[in-house]
């Protein structure tokens, strides 16, 4: 019995070490390449591209963070503190933009706000035929698109923090003579800070690593530049230097967020708590609230989706719905399923060992897996590309390279739902199974797996969804002629063939919806 136990653990241990190596090797390789680059390359980059790219990236992240902060916190406040007809509907609708990839939203806004687009025509009716509106292919255009797409992160985290907020804090402030407004600013918002900051941090990481919107709106950020160095100039040294800068930038944001949250565990409510009561609103306020929420949801989801539907029904779009199109669908589904399955298989042993045998080695391996968190798509692609070229060049240009890049990139997202589900089961359950005569494998099959099933399913769906939307790594690593839905959207939209891009885009959004609700149902129950 004991011998079997040791044996199986060591196989597991080996698997975990191999995974960590798989993740760290490419990263290490990119780093070495960047550090060993000719100083002249560094100098040239610092003198020409880097200042502009850093400024663009940081200012975009800052502006989007501010905008999502406003949008996310105010909408969360509206649906948690007020009661009005339609509240539950808005509560769900506010999450919908998450199903919309940034490149889809970017291409829709490129049309709406673009040269000769509907907004400009509308403006010309008001201001005369010569009037122009500022192009969406600008700082403000990208900021708007990114903020509309990512504010649900802030909304979701703030909302669940508000729902689990202990209203005693507010009540005790009132007994101390504080007015409602003072209570909100000196008690409620400071206590929500950890959750709000966590939401904004997600937004910032998302913005920094985004490729879709910035490439379609032609806004130069570090991520976009890495992609251009790899494709346009095939300058892998410069690409790796920019990648390292990007990773450092992301790490800085992450550390800032950790610093902000260092006390958050003390903020959690202990013991009895009283949930805040929603204030009933009359028809006037209902109208006001509905108008606010409708314009936010409309801009971020309603209008873009209706446009996609309209375009998809157009004759041009109908004409491309042939076997070729269904080939793209198949490619997307195949890639996503393979990536999700691989990531879950790789992630399970990692999470399991770190939870059951938390040695520094196992915890280190788990942390290494989270490194993918700060790896934007092009960087992950770059890292995997180098690794395969060096070690296994015969795999270059196959689907395997893509799958490895996806696993590297999306493993953290999967681990975030695998880890808690494993931690929630007490080891006693497994131990009692062993006392009842079950072997290690039987225990896994009959006790552990059924208990973590939901966590595994959620992880799988999450990775499936992310892979479906993934753009830059797919663009860089796909086998020749192997197009996915995301690639089709991007290619058609780059050429401004709005109608032709619409069916693929709509399909991506629709596939994303059920997955979104699956994820939400967890969050909803918990709240």
């Amino acid at each position: 019995m004991i011998a079997v136990h040791r044996l199986s653990v060591s196989t597991l241990q080996l698997a975990v070490l191999a995974t960590a190596a798989l993740i760290l090797l490419p990263l290490g390789y990119v780093t070495t390449l960047a550090l060993s680059a000719d100083p002249a390359v560094w100098q040239r980059l610092w003198a020409t591209r880097v200042p502009e790219l850093l400024l663009n990236t940081v200012s975009l992240a800052g502006a989007v963070a501010l905008l999502t902060l406003g949008l996310g916190v105010s909408t969360a406040w509206m649906v948690t503190r007020f009661e009005f007809p339609g509240r539950r509907l808005w509560e769900v609708a506010l999450v919908l933009p998450l199903a919309m990839p940034t490149y889809v939203l970017a291409y829709v806004y490129n049309y709406l706000l673009g040269f000769g687009g509907p907004m400009e025509q509308l403006w010309q009716l008001v201001a005369g035929p010569q009037a122009r509106i500022s192009s969406p292919q600008s700082f403000w255009g990208v900021t708007l698109v990114m903020a509309l797409d990512t504010f649900p992160f802030v909304y979701l985290l703030t909302r669940s923090a508000l729902l689990s907020f202990n209203v005693s804090f507010e009540e005790v402030a009132r007994t101390c003579g504080a007015s409602q407004l003072r209570t909100m600013f000196s008690v409620t918002l400071p206590l929500l800070r950890p959750s709000i900051v966590a939401g904004v941090a997600l937004v910032v990481l998302y913005v920094v690593s985004d490729f879709g919107a910035v490439s379609l709106l032609r806004y130069q950020t570090l991520t976009y530049a890495v992609f251009q160095q790899m494709t346009g100039r095939s300058d892998n040294q410069a690409a790796s230097i920019l990648s390292i800068l990007l990773v450092i930038l992301a790490l800085l944001f992450l550390l800032t967020e950790r610093w902000f949250r260092r006390k958050s565990r003390f903020y959690q409510t202990t013991g009895r708590y009283r949930a805040p009561q929603r204030i009933q609103r009359g028809w006037f306020h209902t109208g006001l609230l509905t108008a606010c929420l409708a314009s936010v949801v409309g801009l971020a989801f309603g209008i873009p989706t209706s446009l996609l539907v309209m375009w998809s029904l157009s004759q041009e779009a109908q004409a491309i719905l042939d076997t070729r199109f269904f080939g793209f669908v198949w490619n997307s589904a195949l890639l996503s399923s393979l990536a999700a399955t691989a990531a879950v298989l790789v992630g399970l042993p990692l999470a399991y060992l770190a939870s059951r045998k938390p040695t520094w080695l196992n915890l280190g391996c788990l942390q290494a897996a989270y490194a993918g968190y700060v790896l934007p798509g092009p960087v992950a692609a770059l890292a995997v590309l180098f690794l395969f070229l060096k070690i296994m060049p015969f795999f270059y240009g196959t689907v395997l390279v893509l799958i490895v890049a996806y696993v590297l990139h999306f493993l953290p997202a999967g681990l975030q739902s695998l880890e808690p589900s494993i931690q929630q089961i007490t080891p006693n359950l497994e131990e009692v199974a062993r006392t009842l005569g079950l072997g290690v494998r039987e225990t896994w099959r009959r006790v552990t797996l059924p208990l973590i099933r939901n966590g595994v399913i959620v992880a799988w769906v999450l990775i499936f969804l992310q892979t479906m939307k993934e753009l830059p790594a797919t663009l860089l690593l796909r086998p020749v002629g192997f197009d996915t839905l995301a690639i089709r959207v991007w290619l058609e939209a780059s050429e401004e063939y709005y109608q032709l891009a619409a069916p693929s885009a709509l399909l991506i959004v629709l596939v994303g919806l059920p997955a979104l609700f699956l994820l939400l149902s967890r969050d909803w129950r918990a709240a």
Binding site: E171, T175, A178, P190, L191, F266, T270, G271, R272
Partner: protein, 376 residues
């Protein structure tokens, strides 16, 4: 409800009113006039609650969970709207069905069960939270003063999570007291402390409230706590006050069976009135409720009123002994099967199964009509 107290020495709220008069002309700090709160499935409703509290008094709302005691506290603080009736604070109408003065204008201090210390503020800032209208110097001196009074000196730079449970409670108390509230509201303030700490804090708090002459309402489900702290106790059940009296009267002369049961161990023995005397299995008791001839009644006896004498020829048998340190609590079975309890000194040890004779000190018995169902 309609089950009025039927003990001869007790008539409604007469004792409390006479007590108020003893203290002379002091006006009541708080008065509730037939207050009922709106029914909400998540909160216990309260009906027709009336009482008043004079300056410096400590009143305790005692009852099981869900009896509405916290709802009363929250109505006084202004968190809970009143459906009917009025609440007066310092003779000013603060709550009625049509008007609710906001909490921050009521000048009540409140200590929550889980203290609700602001986790993002240091101890000193937590305490100074309600003093924002004062100058900086004045604020600091007030905070220092209250820290000294509550024995928290030296902790002002700490954050709440760096304090022990007892210290957290004292910070919460300091925060409420520092603004000189008209009325202090304590919601189960000792329930998060371990028993030793709770009894020490109880004594300290009682001494402090007396010294500062703070008018206080304390909510608890623990009768020992109520007895130790309160000048008067209101026992609540299902949203209504069953009895409002001094701790001694509540214990010895409970107005209802519910009160009798809730404030300490009690046995209820059935009997019948014959020739003006109550006959029970434990002997005869005086008919103190003017019951009619032949009426069935219940006699309440507390364990400290029953004494055991070993007697081999007696029929009652000891079924169990529970050693409690300062006393032995015996469970005794009577020939009819009826169980009674007796509290004996710590050193008198009888074995299970021993035959004993029971002596009941009849002066402390309380009668209820038998039709009254037990309400627990």
């Amino acid at each position: 409800m309609t089950h009025s107290p039927i003990h001869t020495t007790h008539t409604d709220t007469a004792p409390s009113e006479s007590q108020v008069n003893l203290y002379g002309s002091t006006a009541s700090i708080l008065e509730l006039r037939s207050v009922s709160c709106a029914y909400d499935p998540s909160r216990p409703a309260i009906q027709n609650i009336s009482f008043s509290i004079r300056e410096g008094e400590i009143l305790c709302l005692l009852g099981p969970s869900g009896c509405g005691k916290t709802t009363i506290l929250r109505a006084i603080a202004g968190f809970e709207p009143v459906r009917s009736g009025q609440i007066f604070l310092s003779e000013r109408l603060v709550s009625s069905s049509s008007e609710t003065v906001p909490t921050e204008e009521r000048r009540v201090g409140m200590v929550f069960q889980e203290y609700a210390l602001f986790p993002h503020l240091r101890v000193a800032d937590n305490i100074a939270f309600g003093l924002h209208q004062l100058s900086r110097v004045e604020r600091t001196s007030r905070v220092q003063e209250i820290l000294r009074l509550t024995g928290l000196e030296g902790l002002e730079r700490r954050y709440p999570h760096e304090l022990s449970g007892g210290q957290q409670q004292r910070v919460a108390l300091s925060r409420a007291l520092v603004q000189n509230p008209v009325l202090l509201l304590l919601d189960e303030p000792f329930s998060n402390l371990d028993p030793d700490m709770a009894s020490r804090m109880r004594q300290d708090l009682h001494a402090l409230l007396r010294r500062m002459k703070t008018t206080t309402i304390l909510v608890t489900h623990d009768h020992d706590e109520a007895f130790a702290m309160a000048d008067r106790i209101a026992v609540l059940n299902r949203g209504e006050i069953e009895q409002l009296d001094s701790p001694e009267l509540i214990y010895h002369l409970p107005a209802t069976r519910f009160v009798a049961d809730f404030v300490g161990q009690a046995d209820f023995i059935t009997g019948q009135i014959e020739q003006g005397v109550v006959h029970t299995e434990l002997g005869a008791f005086p008919n103190t409720i003017d019951g009619v001839e032949g009426a069935h009644v219940v006699v309440m006896i507390r364990p400290d009123d029953i004494h055991l004498i070993p007697n081999k020829s007696a029929e009652p048998r000891i079924v169990a002994r529970q050693f409690r340190g300062s006393e032995n609590l015996y469970t005794v079975q009577l020939p009819s099967g009826q169980i009674v309890h007796s509290s004996e000194s710590s050193t008198s040890v009888y074995h299970e199964g021993a035959a004993v004779e029971l002596r009941v000190s009849a002066t402390h018995t309380v009668l209820f009509l038998a039709e009254q169902p037990p309400r627990s």
